[in-house]
């Protein structure tokens, strides 16, 4: 099963490209949709033991490398499946040109394979290669329409990403020298014996991950990239891609290799807290919907980092749950932003208003996602934030717990601004003739907000899934 997760999309990608030109866009869309749905269902059901038996088939001899699925991998597989599914649905309606649509599905295939690879790898250098595959397809995706303002975002991302690669590769070189290999077991073994240099190498790698994940000292590229990317691309970027190459890899390294030393915890807590506050403050002042969501995304990643910084099991569970929640509600908010932009032709909060009367479904789903992000019960975002705050409090980081609570008020503030300016209030002149978005745009939004509500309501059952 593990191998199928990367080989099926790969073979599908190759086959789809061999089809006659007329059939390509529709077939690639359908095939990818099927694969994403299958992956989501697999990842959602796997912990209940339904598909365990298939996973037991060992094929290492055939391929010569190991891919292991654990609960953490399932988290990323599930998020990738859900977000990819909604991005594809959005793309089908918002990308008008057939060639563009086909290119988008192809790149989404590559992103999917990359993320599935990252979720199951146990080798630092292979991890780097897959992260780079994701990064390259992201540069291209941002420029899918070759919009004028997208060039800046893409170039900034490219420059910072190469700098991050340089850091990660230096760290890999140090590991080759002092550990004799790059697989997780080898590094873990030699971390015990060697001192300062190994720590420098780890610090370099984590720094590179922070850049790729767009955390605060290195967040410059993220807002530009998210804002200028085409609508479906920002759904998939914000929902899962930057998290897969940044935060997820960090969680994987922390749990499988480095462990939680006091210095690591402090670093995570400080960076996380700064990200939370700066992201929220920056979001408060934005007039562009997508830019506001991008800064909000930085702030939410800060929450995940702070939860990790507890270093406890509860913190890890909270981080994992918030990771999934963030994938759901952030991709939904971006899908809503796409619907608004599609129907009104504008993302400027100043010129919108009263959209809830014209686009009721978009209005309601966006309200649900916003409230979930801000942590209002009984939505799923509430539970993960509650877990994060409890984890911080229990582990004795009272100061950070207070910051997390206060920042969630800020979150509420900017989302209320967003809702008031865009969806409620007077119907502005510009939107007087607007109609509801097409069904294809609404399906992912409704699906995702149903997930938000559902996860929140059945939380006591879901939590078991994360505790394991």
């Amino acid at each position: 099963m593990n191998y199928l997760l990367i080989f099926v999309p790969f073979i599908a990608l190759v086959l789809v490209n061999l089809l006659p030109k007329k059939l390509r866009p529709i077939s690639s869309f359908l095939v990818l949709l099927l694969i994403l749905a299958a992956q989501s269902i697999f990842a959602a059901l796997a912990p209940f033991g339904l598909i365990r038996a298939v996973g037991a088939v060992r094929m290492e001899h055939l391929f010569g490398f190991h891919l292991l699925i654990d609960n953490l991998s399932l988290l990323l597989l599930l998020s990738a499946g859900i977000v990819g599914f909604s991005a594809l649905m959005v793309a089908w309606h918002s990308i008008k040109d057939e060639d563009d649509r086909f290119n988008f599905t192809n790149l989404l295939f590559i992103l999917l394979i990359g993320m599935n690879g990252i979720s199951m790898l146990r080798d630092l250098f292979s991890l780097y290669v897959f992260i780079e595959a994701i990064a390259v397809s992201t540069f291209i995706m941002i420029l899918l329409y070759k919009a004028r303002e997208a060039y800046e975002g893409a170039l900034k991302y490219l420059i910072l990403s190469v700098v991050a690669s340089v850091m990660m590769l230096s760290s890999i070189a140090l590991f080759i020298m002092f550990c004799g290999g790059t697989s997780f077991e080898v590094i873990k073994l030699s971390l015990v014996s060697s001192g300062a240099l190994a720590r420098i190498a780890i610090a370099l790698f984590i720094c590179g991950l922070f850049i790729k994940g767009g955390l605060v000292p290195f967040h410059g590229w993220l807002a530009d990239a998210y804002t200028s990317a085409p609508a479906p691309v920002s759904v998939v970027l914000a929902g899962v891609v930057t998290k897969a190459s940044g935060i997820f890899t960090l969680i994987r390294l922390l749990t499988a290799v480095i462990g939680f030393s006091p210095a690591t915890k402090d670093l995570l807590l400080i960076i996380g807290a700064i990200s939370i506050v700066i992201g929220a403050l920056a979001a408060l002042g934005q007039k562009d919907i997508k830019r506001m969501l991008a800064y909000s995304s930085i702030s939410q990643m800060g929450y995940i980092l702070v939860a990790l910084g507890c270093g406890t099991r509860l913190g890890l569970i909270a981080a994992a749950f918030h990771f999934l929640n963030h994938a759901i509600f952030k991709s939904q908010l971006f899908a809503n932003a796409a619907a608004v932009e599609e129907q009104t032709g504008s993302r400027d909060l100043g010129s919108l208003g009263g959209l809830a009367q014209k686009m009721p479904v978009t209005g309601i789903t966006s309200a649900i996602a916003s409230l979930s992000t801000a942590g209002i019960p009984p939505l799923s975002g509430f539970w993960s934030k509650l877990l994060i705050i409890i984890a911080l409090w229990v582990s004795g980081n009272y100061f950070y717990a207070v910051i997390a609570v206060l920042a969630s008020l800020l979150t509420l503030a900017y989302f209320l601004t967003l809702q008031r300016e865009a969806f409620f209030g007077q119907v502005s002149v510009k939107v007087s003739s607007v109609t509801e978005a097409s069904a294809g745009m609404l399906i992912p939004a409704v699906l995702l907000s149903a997930m938000t509500v559902g996860l929140g309501l059945v939380f006591p059952f879901v939590i078991k899934y994360f505790v394991r």
Partner: protein, 106 residues
């Protein structure tokens, strides 16, 4: 690690650091996207050197070589994509100057 080995490592490390300084200086100071790309290339050269040095010193050359080859392939793809982006940028803005791109700060 013996004294002699350690000295060799330090010598190589100095050259690695010098190349890094060159690359970062170039990225920070220049206004031309092509020159930024040249700076990035210098950084990648430095890292490739460092990987091979790591293999050379520790006797793991096979591993270091296979990793260096992968890095080189990735580097080329990134450079080609960057070149495509730069050409597109030039078509839009009719210049390669970074300052032109600073239109949408937030």
């Amino acid at each position: 690690m013996g004294i002699e080995m350690s000295q060799m490592f330090w010598t190589f490390f100095i050259f690695f650091a010098l190349l890094l300084v060159e690359g970062f200086y170039c990225i920070i100071v220049t206004y031309n996207f092509l020159r930024v790309l040249i700076g990035l290339e210098l950084l990648m050269k430095a890292v490739t050197l460092f990987i091979i040095v790591a293999g050379y010193l520790s006797g793991n050359l096979a591993l270091a070589q296979s990793i260096a080859i992968t890095v080189i392939v990735i580097e080329v793809v990134v450079v080609v994509v960057a070149a495509g982006i730069i050409i597109g940028f030039f078509r839009e803005y009719d210049s390669l100057n970074i300052k032109n791109a600073r239109s949408m700060k937030g």
